[in-house]
């Protein structure tokens, strides 16, 4: 039967805000009439998950006096476990498509059995893990986050960062820097990373993204997952169309800074109001305070002289150590301060010490160069070495040379010069030579730790005096993430009046509890 949809959620709607469906039906006065709404969640690229059927009798809409069915699917969706970011549930994500199927059930007579009829009008919406204040929700339109225009799936789609702070931002090498965007499930999108020294362009890097069938995509813009030239002081990230390089998002800028404070510097991560993760550096004084709660019980006093054993009557059977931290930012702007209110409100906060960042190792490889046919050192003919690495193409061209009297002369006067000044190998790798009677060994070691410097391919062209050996993969540096809860009653702002900057102090408690050995 003809169900009329009076109101439905927007094309994209935040999970923690109302998602209302209002419907009408000409059969609303039928016996045993109920409006129905089936809620189905689409696991992107996989099966649909039926979440349930809501039912409501027809009630008179005071505005129109029509018999309407009112539904709000917020509670049902928010309590499903498909939106828990940072959870262990494999299907949890920052957003999912939702299918709402209106329906109705009624009986042909008051004593009859009600029969369900689905409507052919289906409501499609994408629900993202957002939580907006009422005024923000009223002002929210999906185009704040995504270009909702109909664009062919293969052509990508315009997107905006799911963060309230989009100005240039300082990050440490230890910062986990995630950029999350909503998208339309197309396959024609990638990220373009551009590296600068000051304002001088150094190089660019493309990062492939898996966007097929997805309503959101996260770019890992962390230092240790990119191939950052050592001289870079900042980099930018933007989405672009694979096919033609057109921009699909604004460009977001990240300034690389060092932890130069006299205090331990921390990265604080929090889930923002859009449901994505933001990070911020706290680099002024931080304190750590353990509170210890010991529990004891008292045994009977029984001294056995025969054994002369000390048997303490009072024993600690349990201890609980809770650690609290007080964290301070450097001076921050009012815009940053407003953004960080989301940190204070967030229920998912973690931090890591910059000094704890490590444990990785650099990638390395070796090339060996043997003597010429006449047993002299040098190249008989042109030689070319190329390699691919994290979307970058490294190449060095060696030309035929004269005969050098020794291996050392060959390296110092030719090889070192070419590698240092005429190639981009030296941008990312240190190299050093050793010598044997038959070959020169040059070991290239990445200037930074991490997998970003692993060679994905290595090619040699020429007279085959060069061979490659000992390709060793790099290992990323990591830092331990410590989950905390924010005590929002004790944060405060400090104002420096002359330049209108602020300072945020945060009191947090580690959620993990530490126990020591019992007696």
């Amino acid at each position: 039967m003809a169900i009329t949809i009076v109101e439905q959620p927007l094309t994209h709607t935040p999970l923690y805000n109302d998602a209302v469906v209002i419907m009408g039906s000409p059969l609303a006065n039928s016996p045993k009439f109920m409006y129905c709404l089936d809620v189905t969640l689409v696991l992107e690229g996989m099966s649909n998950q039926y979440l349930g059927r809501l039912k409501t009798p027809a009630v008179v809409d005071p505005n129109t006096l029509f018999n309407r069915g009112f539904f709000n699917v917020k509670e049902l969706l928010k309590s499903s476990n498909y939106f828990q970011t940072k959870s262990n549930f494999i299907f949890s994500d920052k957003s999912h498509p939702i299918i709402l199927t209106p329906g109705e059930e009624y009986a042909s007579s008051p004593s009859g059995v009600a029969t369900y009829y689905a409507s052919s009008a289906i409501i499609n919406t994408v629900v993202f893990n957002g939580a907006l204040r009422l005024n923000e929700y009223i002002d929210f339109v999906p185009t704040d986050l995504i270009n909702t225009g109909t664009i062919a799936a293969s052509s990508g789609i315009g997107q905006y960062l799911m963060s309230s702070y989009t100005d240039s931002k300082e990050i440490l090498r230890s910062t986990l820097n995630e950029l999350t965007f909503l998208c339309n499930g197309g396959t024609n999108t990638r990220a373009l990373v551009t590296y600068y020294n000051g304002n001088a362009l150094i190089s660019t890097q493309t990062v492939a993204l898996t966007t097929a069938n997805r309503t959101d995509v996260t770019v890992n813009g962390s230092y240790n997952s990119l191939t950052v030239p050592p001289t870079a002081t900042k980099y930018t990230i933007a989405l672009e169309r694979v096919s033609n390089g057109n921009d699909l998002s604004p460009t977001y800028t990240y300034n690389l800074v060092d932890a130069c404070s006299m205090y331990p510097t921390l990265n604080v991560y929090f889930q923002n109001k859009w449901g994505a993760y933001d990070s911020f550096i706290f680099n002024l004084k931080s304190t750590k305070n353990d509170s210890i709660n010991r529990k004891t019980y008292q045994k009977q006093d029984r001294y056995l002289q025969t054994y002369n054993a000390y048997d303490p009557a009072i024993r600690v059977y349990d201890s609980e150590i809770k650690t609290k931290h007080t964290l301070n930012t450097d001076w921050i702007t009012q815009e940053q301060l407003n953004w960080l209110s989301e940190l204070v409100e967030s229920n998912n906060v973690q931090f890591s010490y910059d000094s704890d960042y490590g444990g990785g190792s650099p990638a390395s490889f070796e090339i060996r160069i043997i003597k010429k046919i006449n047993s002299s050192w040098g190249f008989d003919a042109d030689e070319k070495v190329s390699a691919s690495m994290s979307g970058l193409f490294l190449v060095v061209d060696f030309e035929a040379t004269i005969d050098f009297p020794s291996a050392e002369d060959f390296y110092d006067e030719y090889l070192y010069q070419v590698l240092s000044f005429d190639t981009n190998f030296s941008t990312y790798f240190n190299f050093a030579a050793t010598y044997t009677s038959t070959y020169i060994s040059i070991v290239f070691t990445a200037k930074e730790n991490g997998t970003a410097y692993n060679l994905s391919s290595f090619n040699l062209y020429g007279s085959e005096q060069i061979t490659q050996h000992n390709n060793v993969s790099g290992v990323n540096d990591t830092a331990t993430l410590i989950p905390v809860t924010v005590d929002n009653t004790s944060f405060e702002f400090k104002t420096r009046d002359n330049d209108k900057l602020f300072q945020l102090t945060l009191n947090v408690t580690e959620t993990s509890v530490y126990n020591r050995q019992n007696q």
Binding site: Y50, G52, L54, S80, N81, Y297
Partner: protein, 724 residues
Amino acid sequence: MQTNLFIGGVNIDLFNDEPILIDYSLTDVKEPASRQVSHTKTITLPNTPNNASVFKQLFVINKDNSISGFDPNIRVVAFVQNGSGNCISGYFQLTKITKVGTDVKYEGVIYSDEKNLFSQMGDSFLQGNPDPLKDVDLDTGTSALIYRPADYQKAYVNGFVASGSAAELFTIDTGTNTTQTTAPYYNIPFSNLRMAMKFKHIWDRIFQKYNTTYSSAFLNSTRFKSMVYLDTHKTANLSKSQYNDLYAAVNRSTNTAYLLSSGANVRVVYNAEQQDTSNRYNTGTGLYLCNSTRNHTVVTNSNVRGRIKLNDPTVIYAVDTTIQVQINAYVARNLTLEPTTNGVFQNIVVPAGTYTLGQTFEYDLSDPIAVALPFERTVSCTTGDNLEVVLQAVINTGGAVTVWDAEVSILTGSTAIFRPEANQLALNDPYTKNSVPAAQHKQKDFIIDVLRMFNLYLLWDGVNYIIEPRDTFYTLGTQLDWTDKVDRSQAIEIIPIGQLNWKQIQMLAKQDADYYSEQYVTNNKEVYGQQNVFNQNEFVTEVKKIELTFAPPMTVSMQANYPKLQHTYKLNNGVAEAIDGKPRYGYWAGWKEEGQVFSQITGAGANVEYDGYAYVGEFDDPNTPTFSVLFGPPRAVYYQTFGVLGITDNDLYSIYYQNELMNQVSVNAKLITCYVYLTPLEINNLKLYDTVVVDGANCIISKISDYNTTTVQPTQVELIQFIQ
């Protein structure tokens, strides 16, 4: 300490600050014979997405939970882990959801008894539930007893307990047994044959029904296999399904054509069936086929319409002429009409005129009373007989009888019921075990009564129920020394048990309504075999009861040479009147022979004489009893013996309760409440039949209260000093 709660296999999110507390207990020392199940206190759970997914968003009250929803009425397997394994496993019962704003909390309890036998049984009866699926099937897979004297014999009776048979025949007196001065002196109509069914069979069928198993030496002992449930119905009855197999309710859904009778038989063929489970009635032939030898009753209500048809070439009436048709209904057995009948008269007016051969006039249906023809007839039948309803229509008045034929049509709505005259078994009927339990005898009452009779303790060990009498139960465990585990910084309460308990415990079965049971109560002011146990403590006054729903066995015989039988009748103005007795139990003591005894089974199945009888009563032997299934020795017995009868006090109380109750009233017995530091592993490995030593006193564990799975801390333990 890490606590994990699993419900339906999912690891549930817990509140940090709301621990899971568990009470472990088997009995309540203040309520002897009570049985308890270990359980958690109310667990409060947050409405995290993980938990909400388990409960399928039940808190959304307009969600239809009949579709992919959570059914709170069904048990969900659940267990709690305390970091060292399961500390309680069983099932979760969701009790409440609380919403305050957007804050939603679930509340529920885990019961340790995974199979939850008692909860599953609910208030279901052994037999006769409105929903037959709730009945306990006592017959399927067992050998059928045939209701006939030939199957009541010494060899069967003596071999019964050791055999795999579930039931055997014995005899009772429903007030119809007679005596005479010459041998055989005692006559038992074959209709007083009754079934005794082993308690163990019923017990096992209940456990089987609820997919539950047990481990018990006692329940497999000869003593328990000798305990029987006695059929004390007025008569040995057909089961409901047996009765239904003999029952046919049929009707006419259309009017038949007019059938020529004129005094000849017209068979009524009912073309539709309301109920005919075993197809006893043939809607094609109109015959009901008897498959047993018994009285059958046919109840019919025929709607009939008569017609007259001219059988003469011509007839002329000068005036309107009334012709009366009489229609009679009969029941016929094997085509022979039974002698009684019932009839109606229908007047048909033939207007003045000239009529030719074959012309007809119908009754005008103006008087409904002349249309409906009710009739009931009971017929003695044997197997293979055919029953039918027959009509006869005749011209009764009008003067021109010879020129008109009488015809009859059976109208739509005519009905007939063919059924056994009574619910009683006939000779050679299968005697179903499902017919034995008394009306509205609850399954849980049966189980509880058995527990109470033998003071059985139950413990769910995760796989089986461990079930043994109390004294045996505490031999199953190990002895643990908790002297160094008691927290001396907290109070240790020591209470003499006798002070918190009872002044008197009355242990009794239910009084039956038969003549002798009432006589005994009138004369003795207590139920037959009642035991009153006294506490000498001068500070308590409370009287408590341990009462069965079963009536006690009570043997009666007026002379020493009469069989000693259960009597189930009362006297109405001095005339014996059979009653449906209460559920009654007995001890199957085997075939008892006495040289002077001669009795016979009379009636159908031929007279059979005996020099002995199956004794099923309160003792292992009626003449020299050494064991009694009464709680206490009766003050008088209602049967005669040739020699002096010594009543045994080796009864249920002295064997199964005396140690426990004397332990409670002993001057040395104390209830010790203290806090004991138990590690997670210790609590998980602890069995409630383990005994513990504290400060040199041997104790049994009465209760562990509020064991906190979230933090390791001393737990409150209630111990009973174990004297005997």
